[in-house]
């Protein structure tokens, strides 16, 4: 048994399978960052830091005639979303019920996916430097209506090319921006989504938590998400009526090429 303490929970194997599958189904559509940046790992819960290959001078060495340096590392962060489920519902699931209430798990899955997206794209003060934090490019303005998006996205792509950042490129769209793109057809009925894909030569992803949009290179090596413990469900405690669980992961995020992304403000 590991730190998730899953085998201590009053949940059957079938119940765990149900919860894991539900979590996967809810998480995968919303985990936008993982669709666009490099992924390393998972390296396990005991993995605590990412090697940066950098050093910091140390004021004084421990003995005369010796110099010293201290390695710099990027510590992993942990995020966790707690939720609780009815034990009665879980027993019903074991009996074959296919309509039990997993709303609390669904909500926690969405929350932790949003947290991951926000940390990667916009940063987490004091803990993670996000893509928007690191980008040296001024943000571009998205127009009020989506039919002007191709011009903004093309400008972002041109700016990346001017910085020597080759494609293909990906586009992360916040919820509102994604909705506008999907519902819009240009003159002649051509879907805006397809027009944007042609400009990017890459994917467009729904990115809840993103404010506006981000265009970034997909050539690899520019943005690295390092997973320690990948997203997991753990057991916290239980009583006669409820079982208290959580979704958790540990990760670091490193921007190797800050100029490989351009943000677009709503």
């Amino acid at each position: 048994m590991n730190h998730l303490l899953r085998s201590n929970a009053p949940i059957s194997d079938a119940g765990w399978n149900l919860l894991d599958e539900e979590a996967r189904e809810r998480l995968a559509p919303a985990l936008a960052a993982r669709k666009l940046v490099d992924f390393s790992g998972p390296h396990g819960w005991d993995h605590s830091a990412t090697d940066l290959g950098r050093v910091t001078p140390v004021g004084s060495a421990p003995a005369e005639g010796v110099s010293g340096l201290q390695r710099r590392v990027l510590p992993l962060v942990e995020i966790r979303a707690d939720f609780e489920l009815s034990r009665s519902d879980l027993r019903d699931a074991d009996r074959g019920a296919d309509d039990i209430d997993l709303g609390a798990l669904d909500k926690a899955a969405h929350q932790i996916a949003v947290a991951e997206n926000v940390a990667v794209f916009h940063g987490w003060h004091g803990a993670v430097t996000g893509i928007a934090d690191a980008s040296p490019h001024d943000s571009l303005q998205l127009p009020e209506t989506a039919d002007g998006y191709p011009r903004s996205v093309a400008s972002a792509v041109e700016r990346l090319l001017c910085s020597g950042v080759i494609g293909s490129y990906g586009l992360a769209l916040g919820r509102e921006q994604y909705r506008r793109v999907v519902e819009t057809a240009e003159h002649g009925g051509y879907p805006l989504l397809e027009h944007l894909r042609k400009i990017l030569e890459g994917p467009i992803v729904w990115a809840p938590g993103v404010d506006g949009a981000v265009v970034l290179s997909l050539r690899g090596g520019d943005f690295v998400f390092e997973s320690g413990q990948d997203l997991s469900i753990g057991f916290d405690s239980g009583d006669a009526d409820l079982v208290h669980l959580y979704l958790e992961e540990s990760f670091s995020f490193h921007v190797a090429t800050p100029e490989a992304a351009v943000t677009l403000k709503p």
Binding site: M1, N2, L4, R6, S7, A9, I11, D13, W16, N17, D20, A23, R24, L27, A28, P29, L31, R34, K35, L36, D38, F39, G41, P42, G44, W45, P203, I204, V205, W206, S227, Q229, D230, L231, S232, I233, G234, E249
Partner: protein, 130 residues
């Protein structure tokens, strides 16, 4: 020549699965090439030809290993099984049985989870649309 790496209609497969199938086909081709070079090296007597073919086989080792690593990164359960077998001293079959049991016992999930470290096995989603 066609698109015979697909067992199902390609238009029905998601992009990530098509990429996975391409790399599986590539892995197979690299393994075949390694085997062919092994046979050629076994019978060749010209030292210069041997040197060229040893170098070429080394390329195939690299290609095979890169293909394999890609596939393992995209398939947490496969990766977990492989971790129990690859680069381990001792009985290969024994390690294989143990790795399989540790990864898939209890219908592949249950209280310990189906993937490494009890996780949901989501990993990278590159190639997944939307």
């Amino acid at each position: 020549m066609g698109f015979d790496q697909y067992h199902e209609p390609p238009e029905e497969l998601p992009p990530a699965t098509r990429t996975f199938a391409r790399l599986c086909a590539s892995l197979t081709e690299e393994a075949e090439a390694i085997g062919w070079y092994e046979q050629r090296l076994a019978i060749e007597t010209d030292p210069e030809a041997l040197a060229v073919m040893r170098d070429a086989q080394g390329e195939e080792f690299k290609h095979f290993s890169m293909d394999l690593e890609f596939l393992l990164r995209r398939t947490p359960a496969w990766r977990e099984v492989a971790q129990g077998i690859l680069f381990q001293a001792g009985d290969i079959v024994e390690h294989g049985e143990e790795a399989e049991a540790e990864t898939f016992d209890g219908d592949g999930a249950g209280s310990e989870g189906a993937f490494a470290h009890g996780s949901l096995g989501i990993g990278s989603l590159r190639g997944v649309s939307r």
